[in-house]
């Protein structure tokens, strides 16, 4: 799954010359980690392997059956039967259209709203308030947010109950197709509400690299309205930095599974949901069809990204003309209001949905059109609580191990970059984003087949390795900026006092970066807690996490159980963030200078 965690906004940049301590042969001081320069230099290589090997192996495991090679189903060698079967499926056109339209429209709307919010409000007091409102949404797992939203907007849902019958006259819910509508509108709304906070935080991180305050002052002096001024002066520089996150949102929106299962249509479903259904059919022939579908999904994402890139050029061209057109767009308050309204609506929808889950988890009898349960009971918590705690333990264990490995690799990469004084290769950034852009359904089924064939399909380790593929990029993105922004003159001071490079890293830099380090860890845990498909496919059904349990229960439609499990999942994702905020303050309670992070 894609982002659940906040990407830490970078602290104000100082232009960092990472060139100061480049004597990589530090004195061996008995620390096991990165004790020798050679081992440190291997870390970026291992990191690239950890990201690339699962994706490449999984894609290979998808290509083979897609082109007719699946010995288990009695097909050997090259053929196009899988593609013929895929194109014979009558729902294909519709499913493809759904995937494309949901991905493109939700990304476009989320991006536009972020622009309206940042352009229209950045630097104002309302903006701080909006930011505070949207940030917590990031750590709410997609599945839990989707359940909550489904209950909120259904014709018999909470909004309708609050208005009925006194305002609507409904004693029975109207027969309206809202949730799981064939156009995917509710699915798009859910994706927008979840993706907008992610793009917003990425934008804020990018803003810190741009002299936006000065630009804004200049454009205002020239008489431009807030929005147009920001768009022509700041946005081009910001977009260059959030391009990859936008691609991630687009790719994710086109291929999401868990949210689409809950909010998306079923006659037919989106392509990725259908692929997962084929994957789990006892008829092995359908595996080949699923593999072909997965490659089609990959092609669709590739084509959409290509089209998006072309659109970027077109918008840039048009934007240049617009920028020099002379229009000032001074009266942009309606746009600003739209942005503010959308931000509040997204946040309110997700939070009210979670509140709905909470009420259901304590509900006794509760029928339409009652706005509240007739009785409050603890039976749902008594019933599911003990098991939820047990599963939460497994979930957090997987998350903790994956995050620890990710942190070691990320710190190793950044420290190697620092000591060698070479900034990261731009290609490395693409490697980092690759697992987030290649649709999960395109490589996870292939990976599952490969692990099975190798006999490495049991236990928690394959699941942890699969989670690492998704956790690592987010941990890197969250930690790289604060790490690089650290003032390296402090390293010079420490070195002049006799500290080795390792001593500088572990006794000066890491303690000073404790707060962003913990935030990065919390981001990683939230990402891991949200993973549905990797756990389901790689775990072979034997590994239950809060995500798999919650989505399995969604099929049953028992809202009380979904309430308990959805809240447990949300809690598992939120708690680490709370700790990441609280711990530095506690640890450095008497050392004010260390609390800046």
């Amino acid at each position: 799954m894609r982002p659940n965690g906040s990407i830490a906004t970078a602290s104000p940049t100082k232009s960092v010359s990472a060139n100061i301590s480049n004597n990589a042969k530090g004195r061996p001081n008995g620390r096991p980690l990165f004790a020798s320069g050679r081992r440190l230099r291997a870390v970026p290589f291992i990191t690239v392997l950890a990201l690339l090997v699962p994706v490449a192996a999984g894609l290979w495991g998808t290509v083979m059956p897609a082109f007719g090679h699946l010995p288990a189903a009695g097909h050997v060698g090259m053929s196009l039967i899988a593609w013929e079967a895929l194109f014979d499926w009558p729902g294909l056109g519709r499913a493809v259209w759904l995937s494309v339209s949901v991905g493109v429209i939700s990304t476009l709307v989320a991006l536009l709203l972020v622009i309206l919010i940042v352009a229209g409000w950045h630097g104002t007091r309302s903006f701080q308030w909006l930011e505070r409102l949207l940030s917590p949404l990031l750590s709410v797992p997609h599945a839990a947010a989707a359940f909550g939203l489904a209950f909120l907007v259904a014709p018999s849902g909470w909004l309708s109950r609050l208005m009925s019958p006194w305002a609507t006259g409904w004693t029975r819910p109207p027969d309206l197709l809202i949730v799981q509508d064939p156009w995917g509108a509710t699915l798009m709304a859910g994706m927008i509400a979840k993706e907008m906070p992610f793009l917003l935080l990425m934008t804020l991180a990018a803003l810190s690299q741009v002299h936006h305050v000065e630009y804004a002052r200049v454009t205002r002096a020239l008489g431009y309205g807030r929005i147009k001024g920001w768009l022509i002066a700041v946005f081009p520089a910001v977009y260059a930095q959030i391009r990859l996150p936008v691609y991630v949102v687009l790719a994710y929106g086109m291929s999401v599974v868990d949210v689409a299962v809950i909010l998306g249509p079923n006659t037919p479903p989106t392509l990725s949901v259908q692929i997962v259904r084929w994957m789990s059919d006892p008829d092995l022939m359908l595996r080949m069809q699923a593999a072909a579908g997965a490659l089609l999904q990959l092609g669709l994402v590739g084509a959409a990204l290509g089209a998006w890139r072309v659109a970027e050029w077109a918008v840039a061209k048009w934007g240049q003309a617009w920028a020099t057109s002379g229009g000032r767009l001074r009266r942009d308050w309606p746009l600003r209001v739209v942005g503010q309204f959308a931000a509040v609506a997204c946040s309110a929808a997700v939070l009210a949905g979670l509140a709905g889950l909470a009420v259901w988890s304590f509900a006794g009898r509760w029928r339409f059109p009652e706005a509240w349960p007739q009785t409050i009971k603890f039976s749902s918590w008594m019933r599911h609580g003990p098991e939820a705690i047990e599963v939460a333990g497994v979930t957090l264990f997987i998350a903790a191990v994956a995050v620890l490995i990710a942190l070691v690799l990320v710190i190793g990469c950044l420290e190697a970059e620092h000591r060698e004084g070479r900034p990261m290769n731009p290609a490395a950034l693409w490697v980092l984003y690759l697992p987030l852009i290649v649709p999960q359904v395109a490589f996870l089924p292939g990976l599952q087949g490969l692990l099975l064939w190798l006999g490495w399909d049991k236990g928690l380790w394959p699941v942890i390795a699969a989670h690492l593929v998704f956790v690592l990029p987010y941990v890197f993105l969250a930690f790289a900026d604060p790490f690089r922004a650290w003032d390296t003159r402090q390293a010079t001071v420490a070195a002049s006092l006799g500290a080795s490079p390792n001593g500088v890293l572990w006794r000066v830099r890491m303690p000073m970066l404790l707060a962003p380090l913990l935030t990065a860890a919390a981001v990683g845990i939230a990402v891991s807690v949200g993973q549905y498909l990797p756990t389901l496919l790689v775990g072979g059904g034997r590994v239950s996490t809060l995500a798999t349990e919650a989505v399995a229960l969604a099929a049953g439609g028992d809202r009380r159980a979904i309430g308990v499990w959805g809240l447990a999942q949300t809690g598992a994702a939120l708690l680490p963030f709370a700790l990441a905020l609280a711990l530095p303050a506690m640890i450095y309670a008497r050392r004010r200078g260390m609390r800046g992070g």
Binding site: S156, Q180, T267, P268, S544, E549, G556, A561
Partner: protein
């Protein structure tokens, strides 16, 4: 690639060949079972079923030292495909699945492909209590079980209705159509391939077909002709369904939520006690009752089967046997717990056990065996498979 092959070959050579336990030597089975972990792959969408399985887990742990892990499936086919994939990868020992809640087409395909361990069911000690003559526990959708799966619950189709909004429910296909036309949007069924949705189609087919006996043999060239009346019926019914048939509930329990939400008035269920259990759990209003159609309704048994490559076959047999114990069956039939019909023969139980079943309050919405009436035999699984595929082509991708 060569290296990988070498590694797998080495693994295959070093793994010892396990001898399967002998079901007729029960003492050896229980001895072997101690300490084993059984991964029971069972549909996990119903909290009542999950609780019951957890209770069985506590019991086999206390009595036999067997650890039971419930792998909660969204679809039984997931477990079947897992075993198939393992067979394809030559993983013939200690597979991921030790026991599957199964019946119908999944059983037929697994048995045919030689993916099941057995025969074991009729050697279980508690098999002596099973009502072999009165209940369809030795055939599964016309396919003989031959000891490759062990029954644990009886199911029969009932319809659930809210007496407050629907006091006189329709009791035939014709009446259903007339009522749905007069009350559009108040009825739906789970979306095939969900088994309950397909069951609804079969239930209608049995009533609408000229001669229901053809359904007992495999479907062949006669499929179109035999099923034509059912498709004509659906063509008329679908526009009157909830959301005009443009969306469907994905599972059976989701229908209960719809009734409780006031969205629909009628639902199909394969468990006569489900409505009573749901009322007890606040999931349905107290005004809900169940009924069967005038022409009778479909009935079948739920089974458990053990894959050929399970590493805990002894433990799985202990679980299967425990499911057949009078205590477990009594618990399963209690509507406050699960509300599933028992597979046991009352005459084979001790008087005290039989009295306990007799004394069981089946719940306000549960029909007595007499009221449940005639059980219609399941058609051959091939009908189900074909109907499912045809429905998906006609309605499953219609939007």
């Amino acid at each position: 690639m060569k290296h990988l092959l070498g590694v797998t070959a080495a693994l295959a050579l070093t793994s010892p060949a396990f001898a399967d336990p002998d079901p007729t030597n029960w003492d050896a089975v229980t001895a072997e079972a101690r300490g084993q972990t059984v991964y029971w792959n069972a549909w996990g969408g119903s909290t009542t079923t999950n609780d019951f399985i957890a209770w069985i887990g506590d019991k086999v742990q206390a009595d036999y030292g067997v650890t039971l892990e419930h792998v909660k499936l969204t679809d039984t086919a997931d477990a079947v495909s897992r075993v198939l994939a393992e067979q394809a990868a030559n993983q013939d020992t200690d597979g991921a699945v030790d026991m599957i809640w199964i019946n119908g087409a999944n059983f037929a395909s697994m048995k045919q492909a030689g993916l099941l361990f057995g025969p074991f069911a009729e050697d279980l000690p508690n098999w002596s209590l099973v009502d072999v003559d009165g209940k369809t526990v030795q055939t599964d959708f016309t396919v003989p079980t031959e000891g490759y799966e062990s029954p644990w619950a009886m199911a029969q189709v009932v319809f659930i209705h809210d007496t407050e909004t629907l006091p006189e429910p329709p009791k035939s296909a014709e009446a259903l159509l007339a009522w749905a036309a007069a009350n559009p949007g108040r009825f739906t069924f789970p979306q095939p391939p969900d088994f309950l949705g397909t069951t609804f189609l079969k239930q209608m087919l049995i009533e609408l077909v000229d001669d229901a006996s053809v359904l007992q043999s495999p479907a062949g060239d006669d499929f179109d002709a035999v099923t034509a009346p059912m498709w004509a019926f659906l063509e008329e019914l679908t526009p009157h369904l909830w959301r005009q048939g443009r969306a469907y509930p994905q599972t059976g329990p989701r229908q209960l939520q719809l009734i409780n939400d006031g969205e629909t008035d009628l639902a199909i269920s394969f468990s006569p006690g489900e409505a009573s259990a749901a009322i007890a759990n606040d999931q349905l209003p107290e005004t809900v009752r169940t009924y069967v159609l005038d022409g009778g309704t479909l009935g079948n048994a739920s089974f458990v089967a053990i894959p050929y490559n399970s590493g805990s076959k002894a433990g799985a047999m202990v679980v299967a046997n425990t499911l057949l114990s009078a205590e477990a069956q009594l618990r399963a039939q209690d509507p406050n717990i699960l509300g599933y019909g028992t597979v046991l023969d009352m005459d084979k139980l001790t008087p005290a056990q039989a009295d306990a079943f007799e004394a069981l309050d089946l719940g306000i919405a549960t029909l007595s065996p007499a009221e449940l009436g005639q059980v219609l035999a399941e058609p051959h699984p091939s009908w189900m498979t074909k109907i499912e595929a045809e429905w998906i082509d006609r309605y499953g991708v219609a939007n």
